[in-house]
């Protein structure tokens, strides 16, 4: 669901196809009959944007099914490994009681200093919390902050520990998570699924039965999703909903199970881990923010540390990160330079920045390997770009973004004059993959090194070279400045030039190995002493490590584990631990403690992955020299658990971090060590997934009075460049999805210039059903005009039965689809499909709603 794996990840799809040959069942739930559907055992059509209704229907079906209620495996997994038994506070009100919203909904007013959060409402999540017993006595957080306690910061972390949560292992308490979710999903019946999703009831039930048959001790099922689950105003909730279902089915932390994110770019995982994203700093720590209590280092730690999970170590991660930023200048006295670190003002995400740019609030932009002129409400984006004082584009090809100042459709049509555009524009040519060293992190969190093979032509330089050489120039420009605001920059360490003996690939080129070394981390006192894993991190500045999650990928000066290419021999389970390096700690399946039962034995022989070997003789503790009792977690993978923590281990009363968890709590990054069916904190749009309609929808929400997510984002509301359709807008009666094709990539910069790829899909098209084509008098290959409230584009019609009419809530609704790879540059050119999309998005992650909106189609 939410992915067209065969088309967008064809090589990864090799494995589901192999499983299919071995008897696995492949189900594809999608608004289109795609190349994935073509080889699936079952294709189920679904209206774009209604996935939560479908998944909610599955949850309802599963927990009421005979199999789920008769096989003890499911209950054992749910009661012990999830928070099904946990009791939620009495004040919590569900959507059942409030007709589509949860308790805690309040108004949001935009702060004047950065009014680009796109929010009208937000949830105060206090009522979603677990019902807890009294907190243990001890030092108070506020006092410790005031006292500037630490390092070490253990007392601060300990002071954050809440009282124990109430539980009902019988799952009978009406306030326990299981009973709440049972009530919550009760209205998601197969009939309702058919009404909301347009998916035939029989096919829906077939999917549910297949899932039940293929889950349990002996079998597992996996879901694969991609941006068809993220590009919604409630995308995070779709994924959360799937995780909920998979937890109920015991399909998390086990081989062949899980919710797999199929990410879209070679290093998109890496660019999220090593965050070129505004909201986080290395290793998923939240960026210090003006909107949160992040005033000082200790305030930040108090607000962000989860004391009873592995995140209890956050002070170590943060201090090691600050050391990597500010080096020797970062001391305990100056809070490791925390105050120099910039804080965000709110939402500085892609769309928020363009909305601000359109209002002249963003003056300069560096665009490296991305092509926004063809993305997200393209017309508005290009208008925003024209407000810039300066724009740098660095890419392998002259992209639409580099050329929009003179070639954009509105410039070509004469609507906008080239001379009126006062932006100073630069284009720098880039190197290609074979022309430099570096690592990518793939969708499995695996870092893989690629090596230089050939020199790039002309002025092509690596993208790292660009920032490296700018940094050197700016270091020089600010050198000697006494202004307080320049101290941060002046203290930033910048040492990426190759060491003596290592030839730079290009004049002034960085050493990529040196960068990865800084990411991996080392002993501050001796940079040649690399850190072997995040367990070595300290919160006193003695360790320097940019990214705690990448710690261990470069465990010694000359040991780059990302460059390993040694696969397991055929016939073994195949974790391939010596191929590349996966974070965290080279683990291939996360939370894999869940692959064993409470006692630490594999759930079944067939699904053996990581288990407890009670007879294992451990060496004495290397630090204390004390003997360690027998027993160790062993298996095919690196265990995601305390290595010698026995299944019957109990939490230490005053323990923080992993010491606060027992031997049966596999989800060590969660505060209670359990998989969350109900999400008490962390999601801004509700603790349970709920079906809402996309912002632009042809129908009223059939499930609740609440039409859309009450807290979803609308940027530039009411602006002429972000017009939105009303519910059931007769001018835009059709549902449209945008998507990728196998033959092209993204906005086309990396494919439309390649003759071999361009000839395979040479022109933009719209796929529309035969019924709609007939109604509109459109024949195959006719030019059609597709319009949304934001704009209109031309495309050739591909008339097909692979997409078509659906019966939704008593209405016939036509579905159309367009690949979005085109623009005006390259060998294969076409209109910009994103000129149709809107600046609306998900409140958790600010992603846009590109998969479900409305349009009109007319013969040109």
């Amino acid at each position: 669901m939410g992915s067209n794996m065969a088309e967008c990840h064809p090589v990864a799809f090799r494995w589901p196809m192999k499983a299919k040959l071995n008897g696995a069942k492949l189900v594809h739930v999608d608004p289109r009959f795609t190349r994935t559907s073509a080889v699936a055992d079952l294709h189920v059509p679904i209206r774009a944007g209604s996935d939560i209704a479908f998944l909610g229907g599955l949850i309802n079906y599963v927990i009421n099914s005979k199999r789920w209620n008769s096989d003890p495996f499911f209950r054992e997994f749910a009661v012990n490994y999830t928070n099904a038994a946990t009791i939620i506070g009495d004040d919590f009100k569900d959507t059942e009681e409030l007709d589509g919203v949860f308790s805690g909904l309040v108004k949001f007013s935009e702060p004047a200093f950065w009014p680009y959060n796109g929010l009208e409402g937000r949830y105060d999540n206090a009522t979603w919390a677990y019902k807890r017993g009294p907190k243990a006595p001890g030092p108070v957080t506020k006092d410790l902050i005031a006292k500037r306690a630490g390092p070490p910061f253990d007392d601060l972390v300990r002071s954050l520990k809440p009282g124990p949560a109430d539980k009902d292992p019988t799952l009978q308490n009406p306030h326990c998570v299981f009973q709440i979710l049972k009530r919550h999903f009760a209205r998601y019946t197969p009939e309702m699924v058919e009404q909301v999703c347009g998916s035939p009831k029989e096919k829906f039930i077939k999917v549910a039965e297949l899932l039940l048959e293929n889950s349990g001790r002996d079998r597992t099922s996996a879901f694969a999703y991609a941006v068809a689950w993220t590009q919604h105003t409630y995308g995070v909730q779709m994924i959360s909903c799937c995780a909920l279902l998979q937890l109920l089915l015991g399909n998390i932390g086990r081989p062949g199970a899980g919710v797999m994110a199929l990410r879209g770019h070679a290093a998109i995982q890496g660019s999220t881990d090593v965050p070129t994203l505004y909201h986080s700093i290395h290793g998923y720590m939240n960026a210090p923010s003006a909107l949160r209590p992040h005033e000082t280092l200790r305030d930040y730690m108090a607000a962000e540390t989860s004391p009873t999970s592995y995140y209890g170590n956050l002070p170590k991660f943060l201090v090691s990160y600050l050391k990597s930023m500010y080096g020797a200048a970062a001391t305990a006295e100056n809070d490791f330079g925390y105050d120099w670190h910039p804080k965000i003002l709110g939402d500085h995400s892609h769309i928020a920045c363009f909305a601000a740019m359109a209002e002249g609030k963003v003056k300069g932009m560096c665009c490296v390997g991305q092509n926004p002129a063809t993305s997200l409400n393209g017309g508005a984006t290009r208008q925003a770009l024209r407000q810039l004082d300066w724009l740098v584009v660095k890419d392998n090809w002259l992209t639409e973004t580099a050329t929009s100042w003179y070639l954009a459709p509105e410039v070509k049509s004469g609507e906008v004059k080239v001379g009126d555009n006062k932006t100073e524009v630069f284009f720098f040519p880039s190197t290609q993959i074979a022309e430099y060293d570096g690592s990518f992190t793939n969708t499995q969190r695996m870092l893989q090194w690629h090596s230089f093979a050939a020199k790039a032509p002309g002025d092509c330089r690596t993208d790292s070279w660009f920032y490296h050489n700018l940094a050197k120039r700016l270091k020089k420009a600010y050198a000697g400045s006494k202004l307080s605001r320049d101290q941060g920059w002046n203290n930033v360490t910048w040492d990426f030039d190759p060491d003596a003996g290592e030839e730079p690939l290009y004049p002034g080129e960085i050493s990529a190995r040196k960068v990865l070394r800084e990411i991996n981390g080392y002993q501050t006192a001796d940079p040649k002493q690399h850190l072997k894993g995040f367990a070595e991190l300290k919160d006193d500045g003695s360790t320097t490590c940019a990214s705690w999650i990448y710690c261990g990928c470069y465990p010694a000066w000359d040991q780059n584990l990302t460059a390993r290419r040694e696969a397991d021999p055929p016939g073994v389970p195949g974790a391939h631990l010596k191929w590349g390096w996966a974070w965290p700690a080279n683990r291939r399946v996360m939370y894999n403690r869940a692959s064993a039962d409470l006692k630490g034995n594999p759930w079944s022989e067939r699904k053996r992955w990581v288990w407890w070997d009670a007879t294992f003789v451990n060496p004495p503790d290397p630090k204390t020299g004390k003997p360690v009792p027998r027993g160790k977690w062993v298996g095919y993978d690196v265990p995601d658990f305390g290595g010698t923590k026995a299944p019957d281990a109990q939490p230490k009363p005053d323990g923080i971090g992993l010491d606060a968890l027992s031997g049966t709590q596999p989800f060590i990054m969660r505060a209670d060590g359990k998989g969350w069916l109900f999400v008490p904190a962390g999601l801004v749009d509700g603790p349970l997934p709920t079906h809402y309609e996309p912002h632009e929808s042809p129908i009223q929400n059939p499930l609740y009075k609440q039409q859309t997510s009450p807290v979803h984002k609308v940027w530039a509301p009411g602006k002429p460049y972000n017009k939105l359709a009303v519910v059931g807008d007769p001018k835009f009666p059709y549902v449209i999805s945008t998507y990728r094709l196998t033959e092209h990539y993204l906005a086309g910069a990396m494919s439309r210039w390649l003759p071999w790829l361009a000839e395979l899909q040479p022109e933009l098209f719209i796929e529309l059903g035969k019924g709609l084509a007939q109604e509109k008098g459109i024949k195959n290959l006719d030019w059609v005009v597709v319009s949304s409230p934001r704009g209109h584009i031309r495309a050739k019609a591909l008339v097909t039965d692979r997409i078509g009419v659906m019966h939704i809530a008593g209405k016939r609704i036509h579905h159309v689809g367009m690949p979005w790879h085109w623009g005006w540059m390259g060998l294969s050119t076409g209109d910009v499909v994103n000129d149709l999309t809107a600046w609306v998005g998900d409140p958790n992650v600010s992603i846009h709603e590109g998969k479900a909106f409305v349009c009109n189609v007319e013969k040109a």
Binding site: P10, V11, A12, R263, H265, A266, A267, I268, G270, T272, V274, P275, T276, L277, Y278, A290, M325, D339, P342, A356, V362, K363, G364, M365, C366, V368, Q370, P372, D389, W390, D395, V418, V425, F426, F427, F428, A434, S439, F440, L447, Q448, A453, K455, G458, S464, Y467, R485, W489, I510, A546, Y550, H744, Y745, L746, M750, S751, W753, L754, L760, S846
Partner: protein
């Protein structure tokens, strides 16, 4: 030699059923198997460098063959547990990412309001961009918000891109901008 016999039998059959013309055998010509004329293996004597596909996130391993520093072939690395030597059409076309006459190789500059690009020197362009970054930073830097909160940042510059680029780039990029106090750092992962 199974093949030869098959061909021989077939020829005999066709001759038997054929006409006078058809029955004539070829002069010095046979349809029996033969070595084709030498076809030089393109990657003979090539250097092999391990690499990774730069397209989607599957992380297929590739092998780059170069002769005298020039790329002659790129194909899947059969050792990889991800792709076992296979590739998709984009992966199979990586060669053309490199060996492509359409590649941009020069630095271009457009002055404000100008109607055309100018080809400029790389070093000059870098100096100019550094100058613009400093100017914008100095003009827009916020040390404290009106409410007194220390923020040490500027929202007026926007850095975009990174998901198609290396981890090392991402580190250098975010360190550069965060070091300068620029927080609006984004990449394709957002959209």
């Amino acid at each position: 030699m199974l093949v030869g016999r098959r061909d021989f039998l077939r020829l005999t059959a066709s001759a038997g059923a054929g006409t006078a013309i058809g029955g004539l055998v070829g002069l010095g010509v046979t349809l029996a198997p033969a070595m084709a004329r030498a076809q030089e293996l393109r990657i003979k004597d090539a250097k092999t460098t391990p690499s990774i596909c730069p397209f989607c996130s599957v992380g297929c391993a590739t092998l780059i063959h170069t002769v005298d520093g020039k790329i002659v072939n790129i194909e899947g690395d059969p050792r990889s547990p991800h792709n076992e030597g296979t590739l998709c059409p984009k992966g199979a076309a990586i060669y053309q990412l490199h060996m492509n006459p359409n590649r941009a190789t020069k630095v271009l500059h457009r002055k404000p309001g100008a109607g055309d690009w100018e080809v400029v020197e790389l070093e000059w362009a870098m100096d100019r961009v550094a100058e613009l970054i400093k100017k914008t930073r100095d003009e827009t830097f916020i040390e404290k918000l009106p409410n007194g909160k220390l923020v040490n940042m500027t929202p007026a510059m926007f850095a975009l891109g990174g998901a198609t680029l290396d981890n090392e780039f991402n580190h250098v990029c975010q360190k550069f901008w965060r070091g300068l106090g620029v927080v609006a750092i984004e990449n394709q992962a957002r959209i």
